[in-house]
Amino acid sequence: MIPGRALQRLAARICRAKTLERVVEPAIADLQKEYADAEHQSRSRRVLILLTGYLAVLEVIAMTALEKPPVANEERSALIRTFAWAAGATACAFGLLIVLTVAALPGIPPFYVVLMTPMMLPIAMPVGLTLGIGFGLSGRTISPRTRNTILLSAVLATVVSYGTMTWGIAVPSQTFRQSMSNALGAHGTVTKGLHEMSASGAHRARNLAPGGDPMGMPRRLAWTYHLQSAMAFATPLLALLALAAIHHGARRSIVMAACACYFLLVIGGEALVYRGLPPIAGAWLPNVIFAAAAAYLMSSHPPSMQNSLSPVR
């Protein structure tokens, strides 16, 4: 029996070639020699040699697998900086949205602010991540690993955003409106508005609503229903455009302007829906424009942007 072969194969998958040759294989070689020298010793002694040897090799593999090359430390710093900025920007976006809402509703009790949190999340997240990319990575070379990590985070944000808009907004929003109505002295249950319906609720209401002029309820319900899906994808699209723009050398002010443009397009899309544009087109218009812009920027880059970028310094 030659111990350590499985560990060598495992290490070959995890560790770099230089680390495997200079650090891991010497540990395995020593184990193999020690075990071979104990051939005529007791079984318990050989088992003990195997156990201590395997533990030592596993420890070596774990330590070397956790070691990062110097360039990866800079990537990690860039990512931490980006996410720190994103968290701060998201918090600021939250705060601004809540302040604007509270300013429009003087005398609102503080508890009601909590009810507004799910409503603000689908807007605050894309704004926060986009600004985080702009402030954290502006002026720097973006490696494929950094880009992929940020895009993965954006996809996760999409899942959270979609779930919030599908299931998480209706109840707090309706509770907020009911509470405000009660606070103003009104009695009875407040009818659910467009934004207090879940996606399925808006879909049902649209099918039940009578047809009519383009400004009527069916059109508004349809637009609301489609917008809830479209807004969930704002985060990855804005992130993709921001990454592509920064790689083109865009400054953070450009990234901030792009973020503002997205929400202006959302408002513009609603206006176009009222003027006859199909609701699905109006809701997804900003996403289509931003996806096209990101694709154009990426395709106009040197091949290194699409394949493997040079590592961050």
Binding site: I2, T19, E25, P26, I28, A29, G53, M63
Partner: protein, 101 residues
Amino acid sequence: MDIPRLSATERLILELLADEQMFGLQLVQQSKGALKRGTVYVTLGRMQDKGYVESWTEKQPAGAIGLPRRLYRPTAYGLRVLEAWDVAVRTLKRRPKLQHA
């Protein structure tokens, strides 16, 4: 000029290798428990990167099975670093002579 750093573990390894070249497991055995088997190889790898030690794989006899073992010995630079740190430690341990006005 930046003074190269030398941890206690690296210093012990250089002191042991200064007498004779050794395999990693021999260093662990000679240290009488001061060096841990799991970490000595990682430390030796770092010392090679810093230029304190060098290593090579032993020639295996024909028909040998298993991986060839790696031998280690200090470089001239590693021995100079060790000597510099020894001088520094002796200097720090020496009681200062106070000069009275």
